[in-house]
Amino acid sequence: MTAVAAIPVTTSEEAFFIPVGEQQIFAMLHRPAQANPSLAVVMCHALAEEKLWSHRIYVKFARRLANAGIAVLRFDSRGEGDSDLEFEDSTLVTRIEDTKAAVAATYTKVAAERVVLLGHRFGGSAAAAAAAQLREQVHGLVVWDPLPDSADYFQQLLRSNLTTQMAIHGKVIRTREALIEDLLNGQLIVADGYGLHKDFYQQAIALDWSSDPAVFARPVLLLEVAKAGQTEPSAKFKQLSDANTSCTCGVVTEPPMWRETRQFHQEAKQFAAQTLSWLGSQWPGAVS
């Protein structure tokens, strides 16, 4: 057994709710030891069950950042975790609103000079869209395992619906294509226990954050997970870094910590190391 490095909790943590309209979202603030951190990171989680599998990685990375002198705010989007709304009532729009509320709460709570958004997978898409809207309020963007194609991503999500069909009917009676058709006709489609609906789906597949110049109006770090033998960013991300001088693309080797494997994923070492290194290079005085 490999020992997992213990991260001392010398910082303080505060769980609280952030109001968003008539609802509220659950948030956890990690304060560094020093009173006035100049940099804060707001972390946007992955979607649905991917959030739960990768949750501890977020917790431990937040504590690591706090130990490095950076304030961190993690939050649950509405429809997920301990935040209001049912999942089927949440959309991409609510996720962007929640991210904006989390950024505002961060400025209020820690009076940081700069806020960086960090998102994982679909959380990265929501973070990018929020960054574009928040403009100068967001000074940097980090996306772990960015999803360049939301339509393809939703197709993958629907795989669990097929498994459920097998359990109930002994066979697949609605293919993924048919499920998408049902979704577009207004039916709620359940994947992994989460109800997907038309508005969310349509908003998500319409989102093309990588083509939005407003996303790249700040330093951006995109960390792609290497496929077999891959050492260089894939063409899509290479084009992004070529077209945007603010954009840095990297490739990391990480296990699929966002889904069930035999491992208990507590750390994403390469994501963490490259992110910390990049933050330090962008804002040298902010990272201790």
């Binding site: 991260i7 769980a15 709710f17 739960l52 917790v59 999942f87 359940v190 226990g193 491992q263």
Partner: protein, 323 residues
Amino acid sequence: MNQQIVTLRNSAGHALYCMFHAPDKVRFPAPSLAVLLLSPGVKMRVAPHRLYRKLMKTFLDRGIAVLRVDFHGLGDSEGELQEVQLDQLYRQVQLGRHIGDVAAAINWVERELGIRRVLVGGLCGGALTGLLAAEFDRRVVGLYTIGIPVCLDGSGQHSAETMTRGQLGSLRKRYIAKLLKPDAWLRLLSFRSDFRLIWRSLTVASAARRQRKAVKKSEGLTPTPATAPASNLNPLFPRAFFALLRAQTPILLLFSGADRLKWEFDEKFAEPWAAGLAPYAAITQVSMVEKANHVLSDPAWVADAAHQTAAWLDRHFTNARAT
């Protein structure tokens, strides 16, 4: 919804982040019963697809307060866990790693809410932790379980040695069906098949017959098992289970129809200990959610579980709102 973030500390000083939900204050101004829904595996206090949030309405509607608990080293809570493999982590949970966290949560409920009677449990590891914690805490008046495991994970044994008869029977049908498939023969002849598993699945029926004969020979109606316990049975399970029964603690055992855990419960606990369990049939309810998977990921399965939960609560805890 009346919810409150609760940060409590276990005996090691770790902050445990929990979520408390009070029933409607007008209908239930002074709840006398609470349920602790405990973190299942690594899925923290919300459980897969927020299952605990979906089920808690059933409790709140009956005046039962709800506390959803993150264990140390999991969810948002403090603490470090050293395991790198999930089966090793599950094994530690199954050996009672978090029962101190449950005690801390019950202490909080009693101290802050004045509630001295609690139900404990949840899904899978949460259910088992509830059982193990209840053995040592007389404030627990009911055990609420969904898919409770009776075996230990991470034993390092070959899977064929620990599979139930139900699992092996299912496998046997699949192997027989494969006899007509050329791909399967190719796999077999290229030595890529699991021969030990195939052999055991094909011979399990005769083994079961021999076992039944052995059971007939055994004597007595005591909590001593009629057959030797399975090698991967959690040794803490029978002890804790019977301790609760002796204390007349009602137990709900909800299982999913497509989950191996029901087979394991039957073959490795209920059948060997059938005689010992018989006197407690009135307080031991075993129910099924047909065709469901382990985490009840279809809304109909959740609704069925909620319905059966309601019936169990109404049967055993109708006085929750009055006392």
